[in-house]
Amino acid sequence: MDVQNLTFIIVGLSFALYIGIAIWARAGSTNEFYVAGGGVPPFANGMATAADWMSAASFISMAGIISFAGYDGGVYLMGWTGGYVLLALCLAPYLRKFGKFTVPDFIGDRYYSQVARIVAILCAIFICFTYIAGQMRGVGVVFSRFLEVDIETGVYIGMVIVFFYAVLGGMKGITYTQVAQYCVLVFAYLVPAIFISLMMTGHFLPQTGFGATLADGSGMYVLDKLDGLSAELGFAQYTEGSKSMIDVFAITAALMVGTAGLPHVIVRFFTVPRVKDTRISAAWTLVFIAIVYTTAPAVASFARVNMVDTINGKDGSGTLYSEAPAWVKNWERTGLITFEDKNGDGKMSYSAGKVSDPNSANEVKIDRDIMVLANPEIADLPAWVIALVAAGGIAAALSTTAGLLLVISTSVSHDLLKRTLKPDISDKQELLAARLAAMVAIVISAYFGINPPGFVASVVAFAFGLAAASFFPAIIMGIFSKRMNKEGAIAGMVSGITFTAAYIIYFKFVSPELNTPANWLFGISPEGIGIVGMAVNFLIAAVVLKLTADTPKEVQDMVESIRNPKGSLAAHVH
């Protein structure tokens, strides 16, 4: 059976699984007096959270970035993992004690201000938009390859499917669907990685294969070979970064702080009834995330070696285009690989530099986002593995997108419309508004998916940067500084997000030609500027706090109490 049919079958089966679970969960009624009392076990909840956490960016693009950028790509790995830890340890427990379901509500209550709440809502909507845009591109890549259409059509198809899944299917919020998605995702990620690791290094675990010698008899280490190849082709050394230390630090920190404020993941911590279970499930989530994240560098290196080997040939003299492997042709159709025979020898040659640059010897342009998806094809793995990866990519995108769309639609229809602008709308109108908001969100993000301002992962990185500059300081100050008042918080958020957005827009859209380390502020790239935005936020907030009145006493007491280990009871009971 060919790859396309298998993909249809496997993706279809995975959808059938999600829908089946959703129906089962709906139908499972509880006998009124004999409720077991447990709910979802922490183990399962950990998987579900991991599915929420790992988006198309983690699944599709992270390995791609590492594969192309080598050591530099590692910032995403570190930043995202750190962000999760920060969220699980420093934010979620306090927000839970505070008894607020969303970050805007926390901010609104903590800063006793409708304005602060609305600013926070707008920030949340904006961040979610950016994040969804990244997801849409990922879904588009998957569909374009396996339905053999161009990337644009792929995004359109993905748009429709995501809309039906998230808005009409009502499957979000069912933990076991998410668990299934995680399982599909992790299976799809590990199977090809294990196969390739076995083939290339003889190691079963990709994590150990990554640091082992090649099995081709050369006795060379994988990473040595990569360094060699990179040098040969004019790239920077694979294991050595090209970014400055401060930039790496800034990007990692921005990613970390930014992810910690992501609204759709925080909610997951609140849906577990017992506080103790929340901690256990957070630990499980970390384990489940680690399974994928530790595999990513291995996948990246193997893919890189294989790719260069197949395009340039074992001897480095290039493969004849007419004899190019099937995957090159397949991906060419999506427009994500292009080949221009500049020297007219009929052979492909891949090296550093742009294809459009006549001085460069590079004839092949490869989109980073295809690395994970194309990996099994490059390694000549069986067709079902390729199909499986497609299902995994879709699973990763769906779980995250559905969560984000919900945040957008509830924010627009409930927080903005019902609670602020027009309190007398009926339930029906509210739900309609929510669906419309979701639809608009999908359309806008599809536009960005087709015309991306960067690669999937960097689009997402911007979202994180913005979150880092806005939400995070407000939350942190809200919890840990009882004196912080609303004026300070609002001024901080507005200045933080304005600064960061302006910086990014300037370097990425207005004058992309100036986007070099020399022009950067403190040598920090737009990806890492969120951390500076955060500092700006803190600073402005502190200044404004000095100039304005103190926080009311009862709010101070409340803040005191959520840091009190006894829980919030003390605050509420006299």
Binding site: E32, F101, L406, H414, D427, K428, H572, V573
Partner: protein
């Protein structure tokens, strides 16, 4: 050959006709019968399936009720039934109403016929019993209506008379002395006239006549009267026709025997629940309370036939339970001394919501003073245990979840209750959610009002937790309305052959839950669903259209449910078979369910940010 159970043999041999038959008959009977345990809920199963049988009551109490709803006989240990059908081959006409669940011995047709063939005495007994049953049931139906009863059975028996010469003052003093509202004026044994309270007001005080005047000047001369053998109906007719409230009753010799009043006649109608509640509140002993409580099922049946808006029944039953509880608490204090400190008796769940049915069980608790000592607690432990037990004896079932004042956990100070609520709110497990659904519907029944208000205030402070509301909304959404993907009814199959719709669990309960969620969210401390909805109109959480929609749905579903509960056909309670509905009704029902689903989704959306 099967072994025989000695006790069954002994019991059977004591009953007619076996006591007059050879031992072999008893032994045959004992070896061929089956034993079943008959309860209110499973009776349909035994009496309508499996053909005709002879039933012998081994324990329990059952009322045999004809198809018209009249009680033919009360069956207790040693009574038979089912034999008319065995003898005539007709279908079973009557059915059973279980008063107390118990054991029945069941003998099938084949074994019955064998005994009939072999033992003449056996046959004779049942033929005779059948004839008696026919006679008595006909007599009963003739006597059914109270209006057909004789005046002599209804009138107040001892007559208070006075001669025509007494002064108005004397007459009034006599009336006061005997506590009557009318005085019959006689000359020897002849009726001369009648004086009533109203006469004293209208003809004496208002006309400024001296109290020393003789009574004959103000009495109604030659009043309308009635004979003791007349029927109550005639008396009512006379009273209505002449707009009078008192009728002297005469014997055939025209000698006055007594007076019948309109109140006497009304008392016969018995279907005045307000009266029963009043009686309960005045009951002077536990036994009396229990006696009144045994009237409740009968009263409910009569009442439900007479009224238009059936949803009043829930309120009525809750009112009765309130009365029973308050009275029992009071009687306890009379017997064991006043409570040593302030307390309030509170109720939860359906009683608090005033949606009780005959099947509802107890949900109650005690709220105690903050400074209570361990010794004082003992008093309340005993109070709780006693009253709960007495309520069970009054027919209000024990709570399977043990939410009863007899349970240690359900007696506590405001702080103790509050910390119970806090644990549910802070860790909203499914079990905690279930508790919230019951406990957050609470109402004061008896005792200190300020304690109860303290509790409400305490709850108001802890319920401001959005996570709790999110969990509650999620929980509500795990239940679903029985409408399928293609707009069809999704039927359930329970313990009967019929597929059915569960109106309560899949409709009314969801609305109750939703309304509770909204009410708690804005801090409305009422328990009744409709009252909560009315109060919600003042808030923004639900638009007024949504409130009206929910109200209509709730009323519609409740009405439909109670209607079917009264004429149910082997369906579990609260359920209906949509096939029995007209197409308009089906349409309405679907509409109602759709509205409920909408409200449900909206709640998940608003509170839990869950699916759209």
């Amino acid at each position: 050959m099967a072994a025989q159970v000695q006790d069954v043999v002994e019991f059977s041999h004591k009953q007619m006709p076996f006591s007059h038959l050879p031992h072999g008959a008893t032994s045959y009977f004992a070896r061929h019968l089956q034993v079943v345990y008959l309860t209110r809920e499973n009776q349909m199963q035994w009496l309508q399936t499996g053909g005709v049988n002879l039933y012998l009551v081994r324990s329990g109490v059952f009322d045999l009720v004809s198809i018209h709803g009249d009680t033919i006989a009360r069956l207790t240990e040693g009574d038979y039934f089912g034999f008319p059908s065995l003898l005539t081959g007709d279908k079973i006409q009557s059915h059973l109403q279980v008063v107390t669940a118990g054991l029945l011995y069941v003998l099938d047709q084949q074994s019955f016929d064998y005994l009939r063939r072999e033992y003449r005495g056996f046959e004779q007994h049942f033929v005779r019993a059948h004839a008696n049953r026919l006679l008595s049931s006909q007599y009963k139906t003739r006597d059914q209506s109270w209006s057909e009863r004789k005046i002599s059975e209804l009138m107040s028996s001892n007559i208070i008379t006075a001669s025509a010469q007494v002064s108005i003052t004397e007459a009034a003093m006599k009336m006061r002395h005997y506590g009557v509202s009318s005085l019959v004026i006689t000359d020897e044994n002849t009726l001369l006239g009648i004086v009533t309270d109203r006469d004293l007001r209208n003809r004496v005080l208002a006309s400024d006549i001296a109290p020393s005047t003789s009574i004959q000047s103000v009495m109604t001369k030659n009043p309308k009267s009635i004979f003791e053998n007349n029927r109550a109906f005639s008396a009512l007719h006379l009273m209505l026709k002449h707009n009078i409230h008192h009728l002297p009753v005469l014997d055939e010799a025209y000698k006055p025997l007594g007076v019948i009043t309109s109140t006497d006649l009304l008392r016969q109608q018995k279907s005045d629940p307000v009266q029963l509640i009043g009686k309960i509140y005045k009951a002077s002993s536990v036994a009396e309370v229990k006696r009144y409580s045994s009237d409740i099922p009968e009263l409910l049946k009569q009442f439900s036939n007479n009224i238009e808006d059936i949803s009043v029944i829930g309120k009525l039953l809750s009112g009765l339970t309130d009365a029973l509880t308050a009275r029992l608490v009071h009687l306890y204090q009379l017997e064991y001394g006043q409570a040593p400190c302030a307390f309030s008796w509170i109720c939860f769940g359906s009683q608090a919501r005033e949606e009780q049915t005959l099947h509802s069980d107890q949900d109650n608790g005690i709220l105690l003073d903050a400074n209570i000592t361990a010794k004082q607690r003992v008093y309340f432990a005993h109070l709780g245990a006693t009253v709960c037990e007495q309520l069970v004896e009054c027919g209000i079932k024990r709570c399977p979840g043990n939410i009863m004042a007899s349970n240690e956990a359900c007696r506590g100070t405001v702080t103790q209750w509050q910390s119970r609520f806090v644990t549910w709110i802070k860790e909203p497990t499914p079990k905690a959610m279930l508790n919230c659904k019951i406990y957050f519907d609470l109402r004061l029944i008896d005792g200190s009002k300020s304690l109860y208000q303290d509790l409400c205030a305490a709850l108001d402070m802890i319920r401001r937790d959005e996570l709790f509301f999110a969990a509650m909304a999620t929980d509500i959404n795990t239940n679903s309305v029985p409408i399928g993907l293609f707009h069809q009814f999704k039927l359930e199959k329970g313990n009967t052959q019929h597929k059915h719709l569960d109106l309560k669990r899949r409709g009314i309960v969801i609305i109750n839950d939703l309304v509770r969620l909204y009410a708690l969210n804005v801090g409305i401390y009422k328990a009744n669903t409709l009252e909560r909805l009315d109060a919600l109109l003042k808030f923004d959480v639900l638009s007024s259209n949504d409130v009206y929609d929910l109200k209509d749905c709730w009323r519609y579903l409740t009405q439909l449910r109670l209607k079917t509960q009264i004429k149910r056909e082997g369906l579990p309670s609260n359920c209906i078979d949509p096939k029995t509905l007209t197409s308009l009704e089906k349409h309405q029902l679907k509409e109602a369910f759709h509205l409920v689903r909408h409200a449900q989704q909206a709640s998940a959306f608003k509170f839990a940010r869950a699916s759209l």
